[in-house]
Subunit: 133 residues, 2 copies
DNA sequence: ATCAAATAGGACTACACAAGGCGTATATAG
DNA sequence: CTATATACGCCTTGTGTAGTCCTATTTGAT
């Protein structure tokens, strides 16, 4: 409950790593070995971060990843939404299909939850990756 | 990911309900029917809230629940921790057994996550149930 | 041209947890 | 004594997370 996924953690660690080596190209192998992260899992995380234009990939031998923008311009919120794909909400009201909630029409706490949701988004958006390095 | 459990939602709705009827005694049946919440699930939520001294229970016929303290003195954080039982953390570092994290010793983002964790707790603690009524 | 190293990405399994259902015991007002 | 409540444990099901495995593609170096 209220937990960040491992994928997000791995993503943050990887981004932090690349930033810490002055944005030199880094490979999945290198990062996964250094932080003891399952290679395949990290690989897919990196692919999502690439698609989300947070990092840039270089294929083939001598390939790897660099940051697509400065660490100060990447927020934890960016990382979360790119990796999770779907809209992240603390309740179903704030996800793709709000009506799917079993108590949708009778719910009396949509507004207060919305306020909380808004505050959480603020917390995640204001925390930049540069603060992690 | 980062979702509140249904139990917490049900708990908040129930508490809001009792507050909205001026703390008159309310039964599980009444609440579950009004908001279309599964009776058994709500019943267990109420039991936890009772054990956590957020509401007071009256057994037997004509029994039910009232708030144990004023709505202004119950925070969403209180409700969450009482219902979830365990310490709620966005990552394993902030739960009961931090060392269980698969990347515990190599993790480079414990501090920043701690900062986020702290901010989240603030969001949940500052939101009182009275704001929901 | 070939090989090795790297990313890209789909399919599948194992497991934990959330959500709910069911059965029974206990308390109490009338 | 009975009807109406809460108290509480056990079990089932569904969903989502985490991880593994396999194959395709790209590209630098020999």
């Amino acid at each position: 409950m209220l937990k960040l996924s491992k994928k997000v953690e791995y993503g943050l660690i990887a981004i932090r790593h690349i930033a810490s080596v002055n944005n030199h190209i880094s490979t999945v192998k290198e990062i996964s070995e250094k932080y003891i992260i399952p290679v395949d899992v990290l690989a897919k995380v990196m692919q999502k971060l690439t698609k989300g234009k947070i990092i840039t990939s270089y294929q083939g031998a001598m390939g790897g990843y660099t940051l697509a923008r400065k660490a100060e311009e990447i927020s934890v919120m960016d990382v979360i939404s790119v990796i999770e794909g779907t809209q992240v909400g603390i309740a179903q009201c704030f996800s793709e299909v709000p009506e799917n909630c079993s108590i949708y029409t009778n719910c009396t706490i949509k507004n207060p939850l919305g306020k909380i949701q808004h505050n959480l988004e603020h917390v995640f958006s204001s925390m930049k990756v540069s603060e992690i390095v």
